[in-house]
Symmetry: C2
Subunit: 348 residues, 2 copies
C-alpha cells in the first residue's frame, strides 16, 4: 500500500468519469463519494470499484447520460427512475431532494429505482448528518443471502445506513445486515483460512466454514432470524416498493458477461428534521449526552472514526496502475498526470 | 396453561383499565393491543404485564387521564407529549395520525414523548400493514445494553418493528436489537441452566453465561457491533430526538419502588404510502413474489404466523387469578364475571 492525497484522487477519478461520459458535476460528486469510502478505510467500496464502474460505463450497463426522471411526487416524497445511471451521484441527489422536503415538511423521502451500485451508504448518511438531518439510507443489490432456514439466495446483503446530527459530532451508522462482506470471504479463501462458524452457507443452504464453498454459496444474515427479518424489511422498502427489480433479478456488478445490462438497483433516502420531533426543545443536549456516555463507558459512537476521516488514503499501487491504464485509454489527461505523478517513486 | 377466548379477555382487560380510570375507547384499544401479543404467543408482552400496568396506574406512574398533547406540527410530522399515559393507546393513536399524514403527503411521522411501555411493537406495525401502509415503529425503554465494548448500560433493548403490506398478506417485523429478552434470561435462571455464550454480560461488562450474573448485568446487542449501531440509531430517533429522557433515565416498569414515577418512554411511528415510491406501478406483484420465493426456498415471511393469529390464547391460571383479584379490588364487575367464569373448572 502507498499513501496518496485524497484530493488528488478525487480529481483523477472525476476526470476518468468525465472521460467515460458523465457530466462534470455528476462526475465530481461520484468521485468524491468513491474516495470518501477509501478515506474511511472501507476500501472494498472505494476506488477498488472504479475499474468495474468504468467497464460497465463503457459496455452500457451504466448509462453516463442517464438522468433522474421524476416519476411520482407527493407533498413529502419524490420517486425517481434512475435510467441505469451511476448510483453515487443519484443517491447524493436523492439526499438533497429528501433534505429539501424535510426542511419544508418535517420529513422527506426520495426513492431512486433502476439505478446502480452506489458504494458505501454511510457516505450519504454522512451528508444527511452534515445537513443537520436525521435519517436512513437503504439499498438492495444482487441476491447473496438466504431466508433464515432457506436454501436459495433471495435477499441482498441489504445495507442500512443511519444519520444522527448533534452539536458534538453526531453519528453515522453504516452496516450490511449480513454477518460479513463477500470481500472478507474472498480474503479468507486467498489465505486458505477457515471461516468463523455461522458466517456462511454452501449453495444448498448448509452451514460451512470453507471459504470456497461459501463463495459459490451464500452469506448468513447477522444474528440469524433477526438479521433476516431486517433484511426482508430493507428489500421490501427498496426492490419491493420502489423497483423495478427484486434482489433476485438485480445484476451482479462484477459479472463480466453482464456488464452491458442495467443493474436495476433501488435506493431509499428518508430525512427527518430533528426539530420536528422534539417534545421539549432539548434534543441537542440529549444527543450530546448520549455520545458522552457511550465514550465514557468504553464504547465508541458509531461512525465517529469516519466523521474524523483523514486527508490521505492508502491505496494499492496495482490499483493506481490499473486506473492509469484506464486514463490513458480514455485519454483522461488530468487523471494521467495525477496518477503518473503519484506512482513516481512507488517501487514496482 | 389453560386456553381462553381472546375476545373475553379483551373485554375483561378493557373493564379493568376503565376501572383504573382510562376512558372507554382508550381502555379498549389498549386491551386489544395487550391481548394481541398473547394471541401471537409473545406472552412476555401481553396480559402478564397487566398487573404491573394496574399497579403503576394506581400509584400514579401511569396517568389514566393523560392526553396526547400536540407539541409540534409540520406538514407531515406531529410530535405529541404523552403526559405519562399508557403506551398502548398512545402508540395506536400515533399510528392513526401517521397513516392520515401519509395518505395526504406520501409519508407521515408521529412522535410520542413522555409515554410508557406499549407492549409488542409488532402490534402497531401490524396496524400499519392493515391500513395498507409500509413503515417503522421504534421505542426506547430502561437501559439494559452496553455500548459494544462498553462497561455500563446505556441503551434499552431498542426494539424495532416494520410493516410491509401486500395483496398476499405482507409482513410484520418485530424484534429487539438485543440477543435475547430479559424474560428468557429469567427462565434460564429459574431452570439453573447456563446461557449461550454471547448473550449477556455481568455488571462490569465481562461476558458471562451465568444467568444470575446476567440479570444484575446487561444483555448483549445482537450481532455485536452491528446490533449496537442499530440500537444507537433507535435510541437517537426516540429518546434522543423526541425525549424527554434517554434510556439511562427511563424508569424500569417493574421497579416497585418507582411505580409512582412517569417512565418517560418515547415512541416513533413512520408510515410510508407504498404508491408514493413505486417507479413502475408493480410493487404489489414484487412484494407477493418476494413472499412466494421466501416460502418456496424453505424460509418464513417475517410475522406470517402472527398475521394468522388465533382467536384463543394460552394463559397461566395464576395470572387469571391475579387479574381476578385486581378486578374485585377495583370493582370491575364485567372483568370479575368473565375471569371467574374462565377460571371455573381450572384445577387449582
Amino acid at each position: 500500500l502507498t499513501s496518496a492525497p485524497a484530493s488528488a484522487l478525487v480529481r483523477a477519478s472525476t476526470d476518468l468519469l468525465q472521460a467515460a461520459g458523465l457530466p462534470a458535476r455528476r462526475a465530481h460528486r461520484s468521485a468524491a463519494a468513491i474516495v470518501l469510502a477509501d478515506r474511511w478505510r472501507i476500501g472494498s467500496h472505494g476506488l477498488m470499484r472504479l475499474p468495474f464502474y468504468l467497464t460497465r460505463l463503457e459496455a452500457g450497463g451504466i448509462d453516463p447520460k442517464a438522468d433522474l426522471r421524476e416519476v411520482r411526487r407527493t407533498t413529502s416524497v419524490v420517486a425517481f427512475d434512475g435510467g441505469g445511471g451511476l448510483g453515487h451521484w443519484q443517491v447524493w441527489s436523492a439526499v438533497d431532494t429528501a433534505v429539501g422536503l424535510s426542511r419544508a415538511s418535517g420529513v422527506g423521502v426520495a426513492a431512486v429505482g433502476n439505478s446502480s451500485h452506489s458504494g458505501a451508504l454511510g457516505v450519504y448518511a454522512n451528508r444527511l448528518r452534515e445537513a443537520g438531518q436525521a435519517g436512513l439510507v437503504l439499498s438492495n443489490g444482487p441476491a447473496a443471502m438466504p431466508a433464515w432456514g432457506g436454501s436459495r439466495p433471495v435477499l441482498s446483503t441489504s445495507p442500512i445506513a443511519g444519520a444522527v446530527p448533534s452539536p458534538t459530532g453526531g453519528a453515522v451508522v453504516d452496516m450490511a445486515t449480513s454477518t460479513v462482506t463477500r470481500g472478507r470471504i474472498v480474503q479468507y479463501a486467498q489465505d486458505n483460512r477457515p471461516l468463523e462458524p455461522g458466517w456462511a452457507f454452501d449453495s444448498t443452504g448448509t452451514p460451512t466454514t470453507d471459504p470456497k464453498l461459501a463463495l459459490s454459496g451464500m452469506i448468513a444474515p447477522v444474528g440469524g432470524a433477526k438479521g433476516f427479518a431486517l433484511a426482508y424489511l430493507i428489500e421490501s422498502l427498496t426492490g419491493g416498493l420502489i423497483g423495478p427489480l427484486l434482489s433476485r433479478d438485480v445484476v451482479d456488478p462484477f459479472a463480466a458477461n453482464r456488464a452491458s445490462e442495467h443493474q436495476g438497483v433501488s435506493h431509499l433516502v428518508v430525512a427527518i428534521d430533528p426539530r420536528s420531533l422534539d417534545v421539549d426543545g432539548r434534543h441537542e443536549d440529549r444527543l450530546s449526552q448520549l455520545e458522552k456516555e457511550v465514550a465514557a463507558s468504553g464504547g465508541r459512537v458509531p461512525g465517529r472514526r469516519r466523521i474524523k476521516s483523514s486527508a490521505s488514503i492508502e491505496i494499492e499501487p496495482d490499483l493506481m496502475r490499473s486506473l492509469l491504464a484506464w486514463a490513458e485509454r480514455l485519454d483522461a489527461r488530468i487523471a494521467v498526470a495525477i496518477l503518473a505523478n503519484e506512482l513516481t517513486g512507488v517501487r514496482r
